[in-house]
């Protein structure tokens, strides 16, 4: 169970997240849509403290953090309860595909090398990249890198997986394989919060869609309702634009 209350983030004098409340049930798959610059990435980044919110309370499973007062330990606990898939993959450039997945297991979770390696190979198998285990990121295609990026996030076994436009940086030919992998993650009822512009994917995978504008959640609901009969005028305009 994820509970967010009053989450607020400012850059200088601009309020990028304006008093956000959000609950996500276990196993729920939530997709965030909205125009550029409305704080979608910032919402995800605040949930694992890549950006530090000014105010709000974040509860993820047993971890509960008051943003205004969060110390080093709170921040680490929150980050360990979440995992992040980046738009630009952000694989560790000095680690092979397998080592990228092992890194969190060994360094952060303190598992043995052998155990981490076995888990990494298992995950690589699921991502269809077992044969690339010993390749460095520079030698992988964008789609392969992002599949490793998702594998790295899966292996952690975090309560909540965050995806920030995981297919936006990809050449069109690689988008399909990454979305397929995300579908497989979703089938396991992994709790996911996904920012994407792939509307048909959103419609298919989401239990609920959030529409953000101007740092607020303007409208939300199951894809069928939200996309077919949008109430808010801004959402109507947005949907006309993205088709």
């Amino acid at each position: 169970m994820i509970r967010v209350r009053g989450l607020t983030k400012r850059f200088g004098t601009t309020t990028v997240l304006d008093d956000i409340d959000l609950d996500i049930a276990d196993g729920e798959r939530v997709v965030v849509i909205g125009p550029s610059g409305t704080g979608k990435s910032t919402l995800l980044r605040c949930l694992n403290f890549l950006d530090r919110p000014e105010a709000g309370r974040i509860e993820i499973g047993s971890v509960s953090v008051d943003a205004a007062r969060a110390g080093r330990r709170d921040i680490l606990a929150l980050r360990r309860a979440t995992s992040f898939v980046f738009q630009n993959y952000a694989l560790f450039a000095n680690r092979t595909a397998k080592e990228n997945i092992m890194e969190a297991l060994v360094t952060v979770q303190g598992r043995s090398k052998a155990e981490a390696e076995a888990r990494a190979m298992e995950v690589l198998g699921e991502t269809g990249l077992a044969d690339k285990a010993d390749s460095y990121p520079a030698a992988l295609s964008g789609g392969q890198q992002q599949r490793v990026g998702i594998g790295r996030a899966m292996a952690i076994g975090a309560e909540l997986m965050l995806f920030d436009e995981p297919t936006s940086a990809l050449d069109p030919e690689w988008v399909g394989e990454v979305l397929d992998l995300m579908r497989r993650v979703a089938e396991r009822r992994q709790t996911m919060l996904i920012v994407t512009h792939e509307m048909s994917f959103a419609r298919e995978i989401a239990d609920r869609i959030l529409f953000m504008d101007g740092g607020r959640i303007v409208e939300q609901g199951p894809p069928a309702d939200l996309l077919s009969s949008p109430r808010d005028e801004r959402l109507q305009r947005f949907l006309r634009r993205v088709g």
Binding site: F86, A90, N94, E103
Partner: protein, 224 residues
């Protein structure tokens, strides 16, 4: 113009070669110490520990801003007069200390620049999986910074090897000191210093070959 005394030069080669180990020893020890110190200084410069930052800036500024020879004299001849435990210090130790501090200051700047050259996304990925600052630095950032800084650091190592010749001013009989002694006995200054110059040159050339291999190794992960 007179002809070079080739027999004398050939005879001198093994004598000077006998001092190569001492020169390499001083340079190697100073390099290891300087690398460790420089990494600490560089990390401090990046994360900015309050209360420590000004001290690091001052240290780097002083040791970059004054000649190595002056620093060596300060350590060897000057400091023991003020700090009594240092009266025991011998020339080799003083030279290693001086080289360490001097080059640590330069290398700290090179490493700091390399750390800031590591892509932001690498830091964020490390943070996102819950690594501590230390883990992120040790396992992700510094190894990648090493690759960026390697060519510069090897150049400093080469400078350091040449810098060990200054130890002779502290009374250490290393390659340069030995050559000086030989030359003042034979009065064949040109021959003697030519021999030692060529030996330094060869050492540096051999190292430059090693540099290429090191760079290939560090670049392995980044090759397509």
């Amino acid at each position: 113009m007179r002809a070079l005394d080739l027999d004398y030069m050939l005879g001198l080669v093994p004598v000077i070669l006998g001092y190569v180990p001492l020169t390499l020893f001083m340079a190697a020890v100073a390099m290891v110490c300087a690398l460790i110190l420089a990494s600490l200084l560089a990390v401090e410069r990046v994360v900015r520990v309050p209360g420590l930052d000004w001290l690091v800036i001052l240290f780097i500024s002083f040791f970059r801003g004054t000649p190595l020879l002056v620093q060596l004299f300060l350590f060897y001849y000057g400091l023991p007069q003020v700090v009594s435990v240092l009266t025991q210090i011998n020339g080799v130790t003083a030279a290693i200390m001086g080289l360490t501090l001097h080059f640590a200051a330069y290398m700290a700047e090179a490493i700091r620049a390399a750390i800031t050259g590591v892509d932001r996304s690498q830091w964020e990925a490390a943070q996102s999986i819950g690594m501590t600052q230390g883990q992120m630095m040790r396992r992700i950032v510094l190894p990648q910074a090493a690759r960026i800084a390697a060519p510069t650091l090897v150049n400093y190592f080469i400078d350091m090897i040449k810098g060990t010749s200054l130890a002779f001013t502290l009374g250490v009989t290393e390659m340069m000191g030995a050559t000086q002694k030989e030359a003042s006995g034979s009065f064949l200054y040109f021959e003697a210093f030519l021999v030692v110059a060529v030996i330094y040159w060869i050492i540096v050339e051999v190292l430059s070959q090693g540099q290429k291999q090191l760079e290939t190794r560090l670049g392995r992960a980044f090759a397509r």
